[in-house]
Symmetry: C2
Subunit: 212 residues, 2 copies
């Protein structure tokens, strides 16, 4: 049995695969399974067994040579690694189609986020709730952030207003932004920006198509 | 000046960064700029200059030692690498919030895709258009695919029906699926699946938050 030795500097690609493993472990846990081999996880996730093994060992999941990974224990280790055992209060700016789709994502609470507020400038949306989340006017950003002690912003606005809203968020003390606007935000070094780019997935798809 | 030597086996991470570079090049091209240094591109994309340089050289963009990359020429090279100089006919299945958000993405035509049809089972949506794209009933999938000679499917349905719809797509001869459903699809080896996972970005964000 390996000792618990989570390495520093775990790769982004490993981190991005962790939710896939969690989904498999959650399902097996639901069936009452106690142990699972990296081969089984690999089959379910369409990855190589060695990749699965290395990823799980990198975050500190102990494995027995033959028996594989403990289901409940590995869930805890991954959740702790990602901080998904605690909830961070988050809010969303821009309740368009994408924003509404994200507000409807029922997995946030399992993923460490509690989305407690949304903001938009459209008077048809302000004052209503979307998927149970109240929508405020964007002019109220600073006051709601401070009242509710919000830490994480989800930005689903068009490119044009994104930097201006970011500046407001920074003034209000926000330290992490999950950015879906197709623009690079200028922020101080101590602020985390996680950039999502729909074009990146499309580039991957197209490169695969071209190489066929 | 380096010769045009695109390497085999370009990394996924390089491919995922190409759209960012393209956006910078497009903007500079709009301003009439002819040359740009990797340092400037790095500043705009918040990447290291050496990463930019290696990525662009990997797809075969020639660079002059001091002057940098030719704007118009590099655009052509990246577009050709990704096949974005040609349009592939695509369609979308599942016109929920996320599906509607994607249909509203005005960049598809610049990204090699022409989305010509959408499918849903909701009678309120069937027969209408969303962002100019006609919505058909999912029961019509096979016939519309063959009539319109469609090649690429964008799957924005919930996890439960995803595999069943995929089986229909495979019977209709679809060879590439851009999958936003949170489930791994079983497909033959010669079919391309590009999996998008909202949880992966969230995992990255949370790992960064934890390591602060």
């Amino acid at each position: 049995m390996r000792l618990f030795h989570p390495k520093e500097g775990i790769s982004t690609q490993t981190i991005r695969r962790l939710p896939q493993y969690l989904r498999v472990f959650y399902r097996l846990h639901g069936y009452g399974r106690e142990l699972v081999s990296s081969t089984t996880i690999a089959e379910e996730t369409h990855l190589l067994p060695i990749v699965v093994k290395k990823d799980l060992q990198a975050v500190g999941a102990p494995s027995k040579l033959r028996a594989g990974f403990k289901v409940a224990g590995t869930i805890k280790i991954i959740e702790q690694f990602l901080g998904w055992n605690n909830l961070n209060k988050a809010f969303l700016v821009g309740v368009g189609h994408l924003g509404a789709a994200l507000l409807g994502f029922d997995g946030f609470k399992n993923h460490g986020l509690e989305v407690v507020a949304a903001f938009d400038t459209n008077p048809d949306k302000v004052g209503k709730t979307v998927h149970g989340v109240p929508v405020y006017h964007t002019a109220q950003l600073a006051s709601v952030i401070s009242q509710e002690n919000l830490k994480i912003a989800i930005l689903t606005v068009p490119a044009a207003p994104a930097q201006g809203i970011t500046d407001t968020l920074l003034s209000a003390g926000i330290k992490a932004i999950w950015n879906f606007a197709p623009v690079h935000l200028s922020v101080p070094e101590n602020v985390i920006v996680q950039q999502e780019d729909i074009s990146s997935g499309l580039a991957e798809l197209c490169a695969k198509l071209k190489s066929k």
